[in-house]
């Protein structure tokens, strides 16, 4: 039996059962996406108990500070950068390119906004300046991804490593910029000048959510359309499934790697500039929200579908918005969110595995493992009988 056989879904293919099959598939997808999150929350609650913090207080705090009152508006504002990062990751991951340089790419986009913003808003109308900032941010991100992309395309160098190393370099470059050319001379702390409120992205009328949220949702929907309904989307999927097959049908894989990396990195940088122009209005040195770390597992849970990522990102936005204060109250540090995210990743792979085995009606233990576990005992018994 080949691995391909193992992975083929065994769904009933009888005529007339199509509708039931679709509903079943949806239910299965839903369970496989929600169960890991629930398990991760339960286990993280147990971890909290083990280190002497109160999980009830933490989760109650998440609800209180993430949803109630006008807090839901803060959560939705946080969704804007998170969702754009998610779309950026999906672009690369769909083509099986693991762009993990997101922290650096995000900060580069952010520093373009916070550094050029104070200069540009003085000399041109706000709308035009915003547009220029967005374009420069996207281009900066795209150019930054060239080294990992070219190394991957030419020599097959592992892009995880190269993009990560480039990310660490980007963090240093951003800090140098904020402490150097972009530093606000008016303050002693290393930070950029504050962009006045009137120049920031406008709010959605009637709320305190900036329009970056709308941009993010539109981006997700457009990306979903491109991936599922256009020939480009099909090409990306072919490339992701097998670069060799893609070459056979005439796709230029070198350009594909460079294009996908540039798109992905550009989008993530765009998220950074939206976050500065929509939310923060200035940037401190050594500030690194590490959104990508949190978004990555959500992207997996959404199965690389941009629209499916929206509810997951919304969930995490509430967790992160409420979690910062809630963690303090429950006697924890904010870094605990990293543990929750890591647990979601672990349980996701486990749920996936068990789901596949169940569907194929196999034993939960792979044959090789059974041998390894049982062999020492078998030998011992043979020795005894001899």
């Amino acid at each position: 039996m080949t691995t391909a056989d193992l992975k083929t879904p065994v769904t009933p293919n009888l005529p007339g059962s199509n509708q039931a099959g679709a509903a079943q598939r949806f239910a299965q997808g839903f369970i496989r996406s929600v169960v890991p999150v629930l398990l991760a929350l339960i286990v993280s609650g147990l971890v909290m108990l083990a280190i002497g913090a109160s999980p009830l207080e933490f989760f109650a705090g998440v609800w209180k500070y993430g949803i109630t009152g006008s807090n839901w508006q803060r959560s939705l504002s946080l969704m804007a950068p998170l969702l754009i990062v998610a779309v950026g990751l999906i672009v690369a991951f769909r083509g099986q390119l693991w762009n993990l340089g997101y922290n650096g790419q995000y900060l580069l986009g952010a520093v373009v906004a916070s550094g050029l913003g104070p200069i540009l808003f003085d000399v041109m109308p706000a709308f035009l300046a915003t547009l220029v900032i967005f374009v420069v941010a996207v281009l900066t991100g795209a150019v930054w991804s060239l080294i990992p992309a070219i190394l991957k395309a030419r020599y097959g160098t592992n892009e995880i490593i190269t993009s990560l190393v480039m990310s660490f370099i980007a963090v240093g470059v951003v800090n140098l910029l904020i402490k150097g050319v972009f530093k606000d001379p008016g303050t002693s702390t290393p930070q950029t000048a504050v962009i006045p409120d009137s120049d920031l992205l406008p709010y959605i009328p009637g709320t305190e959510i900036h329009i970056g949220f709308v941009i993010a949702i539109v981006l997700a929907v457009v990306a979903q359309y491109v991936f599922s309904r256009t020939s480009f989307g099909l090409r990306v999927d072919i490339f992701g499934a097998s670069p060799k097959a893609a070459r056979h049908v005439g796709l230029n894989s070198t350009w594909m790697v460079i294009l996908l990396f540039a798109l992905s990195s550009g989008l993530i940088a765009f998220a950074g500039s939206v976050d500065i122009l929509g939310q923060f209005s200035y940037q401190r040195a050594d500030w690194d929200p590490r959104y990508g770390d949190a978004v990555m597992p959500l992207v997996f849970l959404a199965r690389f579908r941009p629209v499916a990522a929206i509810p997951f990102v919304a969930f995490y936005a509430v967790l992160a918005t409420g979690g910062t204060l809630a963690a303090q109250q429950a006697g924890l540090n904010v870094d605990f969110l990293l543990v929750i995210v890591g647990l979601i990743l672990l349980f996701m792979t486990i749920t996936e595995y068990i789901g596949d085995r169940r569907r194929l009606g196999q034993s939960y233990l792979p044959p090789g493992l059974k041998r390894t576990v049982l062999q020492p005992f078998r030998r011992a018994s043979e020795r005894n009988s001899a």
Partner: protein, 311 residues
């Protein structure tokens, strides 16, 4: 007068190079053994932090650096158990599990440290030196190289021993074949599962030891996110060294040199921004990757779980 100054300066410089290179060396040796057996462990950043934190706690409570190093190694093995069960045994995606280990390792050590030690930041102090008679009297090099703690020598011997074992023993052969062509190891009567399991645990122990060295000897304390990307540098060095541990040791020393240059320049009188000093090793790594891109070779079966009979 100036001669004496420069002699003392060089001594400190060499000692810094070694202190910076050792954690990386241990982690990269661990990663090499894992990769040779076919397991790409992206979680070693997290494993290092777990090793560093356990070593810190053990040394702080018992007062013994040796027990601390042992604790660090055990912490690393425990952290790598997730990799063992989920990847080697169940064949789940290595990239996802590796990243999960990194995130959990970073998060949990930071939370625990801030919860327990933030009120009274603890430093461990210096480790007793073990001068080698005769050699330690050599001017300049003597105090730098031959007055290291005993832990340094044990770690060097460990790395050399593993270099020999991986290249020349049966264990090394089956480990390498598990990464090169697991089906042939299986056909020859070896167990891919067992070989890879041993490699993952050994690798976890060494990476944990690297974290412990960083916390106990290099920085003499623990702080959240102490490793700051060192684990990923170890992966790069492993890839560039093509599975040869002696090359790993030399490359680690070059890294130590890169890190030590920054502070050294400051002593001479150049002021280098801290951000550039932090960036320097990554810049060197990316330049190495660009220059030697062609020669970064990984075992063919790296990253693929083994299923008997699968094509």
């Amino acid at each position: 007068m100036s001669d004496m100054l420069s002699a003392a300066f060089i001594t400190v410089f060499i000692a810094t190079v070694i202190a910076q290179a050792m954690p990386l060396l241990l982690a990269a040796v661990g990663e090499t053994i894992g990769e040779q057996a076919g397991i790409l462990n992206l979680g070693i950043e997290g494993v290092m932090l777990v090793g560093a934190y356990t070593a810190f706690v053990v040394t702080l409570t018992t007062g013994s650096f040796w027990l601390g190093m042992l604790g660090g190694a055990i912490g690393g093995v425990v952290a790598n158990l997730a990799m063992l069960v989920l990847n080697v045994w169940l064949g789940l995606n290595q990239i996802v599990i590796g990243l999960a280990i990194t995130l959990i390792g970073e998060g949990i050590t930071s939370v625990l440290y801030l919860q327990n030690y933030t009120k009274s930041p603890a430093s461990l102090g210096a480790q007793p030196k073990l001068p080698i008679p005769g050699l330690s009297d050599i001017p300049v090099i003597g105090p730098a190289l031959f007055q290291q703690s005993g832990i340094f020598w044990i770690c060097i011997l460990l790395a050399l021993g593993l270099a020999f074992a991986l290249a020349r023993t049966n264990w090394g052969l089956s480990t390498r074949s598990a990464g090169q062509k697991p089906s042939s190891l299986d056909a020859a009567g070896g167990s891919v599962m067992r070989t890879r399991s041993i490699a993952v645990l050994l690798s976890g122990g060494l990476v944990g030891l690297g974290g412990a060295y960083l916390a106990l000897l290099t920085t003499a304390t623990f702080s959240p996110f102490l490793t700051n990307g060192l684990g990923f540098i170890a992966i790069v060095i492993t890839m560039l060294s093509r599975g040869r541990i002696l090359v790993v040791m030399i490359t680690s020393l070059i890294y130590g040199l890169a890190v030590a240059i920054g502070p050294a320049l400051q002593v001479i009188g150049f002021t280098v921004p801290a951000d550039i000093i932090k960036m320097l090793p990554f810049l060197i790594v990316i330049v190495m990757l660009i220059v030697f891109a062609r020669s970064s070779v990984v075992p063919p079966a790296l990253g693929t779980p083994y299923t008997r009979g699968a094509r």
